[in-house]
């Protein structure tokens, strides 16, 4: 059973068709990259999967169930992180983690927080104010928050966008660690094609809200006869501006 199944998804904002008859499904335990130029509809799609945006039409099944009737059940096994959301600066790191652990109904909150604090190496600053953390520490904190509920599915919208190459690389290694050690499926967006090539089992290209291509990075590079994913991206993005 696919972990996410999107069928004929459409989202219109007034006259803008942000997502246009999009269908895809993603399998369990994989890291899937959702790619496309700015404005392609990636964020809109992710937010619809999370029930933060109501689709105009189409269906979204997560774990085989639809959001309308199983929202609580689905969201308790999903988590999300992105640079456009943040944990409150005015709380201590540990207070933020406890808050979200409670929100997700985590059973042994202390144990869980300590386990993840070790996993992401943030134990040393648990009692610090969130506002005092560096970007790299914040990224790890946000991932810690995102794993508190032992999600089966992690949605990440441009998680590496504002990170320097060193921290971005560490973050990528963490994604791989999360996938391998915890078996979590990840759907994530990024504009860094080298990164996508490195960690994604599969990529979904969208453009103008439509599915453009779908496959392993190697297959896609072969199919377009380019030397890497970056070239494929440029090809796809520029092809459209010619139209």
């Amino acid at each position: 059973m696919p972990i996410i199944e999107v069928k004929n998804l459409v989202k219109e904002f007034g006259k803008v068709r942000a997502v246009n008859d999009l269908s895809f499904s993603i399998e369990e335990g994989k890291i899937t990259g959702l790619l496309g130029p700015n404005g392609a509809g990636k964020t809109t799609t992710i937010q619809m999967i999370l029930d933060l945006i109501t689709p105009t039409s189409g269906d979204i099944l997560v774990f085989g169930e639809d959001m309308k009737h199983h929202r609580e059940e689905i969201l308790s096994k999903v988590n999300f992180s992105s640079p456009y959301v943040a944990l409150p600066n005015s709380l201590k790191v540990i207070e933020n983690l406890y808050t979200f652990a409670r929100l997700y109904g985590v059973k042994n909150i202390r144990e869980k927080v300590e386990e993840l604090a070790d996993f992401f190496e943030i134990r040393a600053f648990l009692t610090k104010m969130t506002s005092s953390l560096s970007t790299g520490q914040l990224t790890r904190l946000n991932l810690t928050k995102a794993l508190l509920n032992d999600p089966k599915l992690l949605l990440l919208d441009e998680p590496t966008a504002s990170l320097d190459p060193d921290i971005a690389d560490r973050t990528r290694q963490m994604f791989l660690k999360i996938q391998r050690e915890k078996g979590i499926s990840i759907l994530y967006t990024s504009h860094n094609m080298a990164e996508v090539e490195e960690i994604c089992d599969r990529v979904i290209f969208i453009q103008h809200g439509k599915l453009k291509d779908d496959g392993t990075p190697e297959d896609i590079i072969m199919k377009y006869g380019r030397k890497d994913l970056n070239e494929v991206f440029l090809h796809i993005a520029r092809e459209s501006t010619k139209l």
């Binding site: 933060l52 308790s76 456009y84 109904g105």
Partner: protein, 262 residues
Amino acid sequence: MKIHRINALLMRHIYLFQRSLPRIMDILFWPVLELLVWGFLSVYLEKLNITSVSVLTFLLGAIIFWDILNQSQKAVSISFLEDVWEKNFLNIFVSPLKLSEFLSAAALLALIRILLVAVILGVLAGLFYHFNIFQFGFYLIPFMANLLIFGFSLGIFTTAIILRFGTAAQILAFGFIVLIQPFSAVFYPVSSLPQYIQYVSYLIPSTYVFEGMRAVTSSGVLPVWHLVLAFATNIFYLLLVVWFFYRMFSSVKVRGRLMKLD
């Protein structure tokens, strides 16, 4: 509804209050300052001996009850804004949290805040001005309940407006309640308002509390229909406002503005 999720939101705000001076001042400092200013004014007016009624009781009662209403409203709208300002709102709403739980947490926060303020102002008014808040006897409970509910409705209304129109509308969260004050007969009886404004006054639940407070002070009893009307108007607005909030929330989801609130 799940208690652990309501508890999570409550604790989040309690953490915040513990070490935030401006937020503590909002409960401790400003209301107390206001009490002192009006208290000394009342003492002075009493000395002038220009009226037969107890100015002190009227004014102090008014200021305490007004502040209770104000705190209830603020607890709701500001706690929502805190999460918008901190860009934390989406984090909360990608969890299984339900709107009913979100609203319940806001109501509990409002309850905690009005109890704190009532105790602090009640004790201080007693110490400084020999004002006895228990002179309202049993009526204290329906008075506070009505102020809590009406403040909650005002808070939910401003929250819904901010959801719909963005934080540019946040001035409402602070200003809306001030618009109510002249019509709600806080410091003077409804009868001192022009006839056509009196009709408006009687549409506002808190009016009955302030009228009731004066009735209890001067005659010791409160017309039952006052209480009935207070609760009736209050429940009507509460239902209306909760419905409006759910509608605005789903409209925001349709327009995709939830992540663009700031």
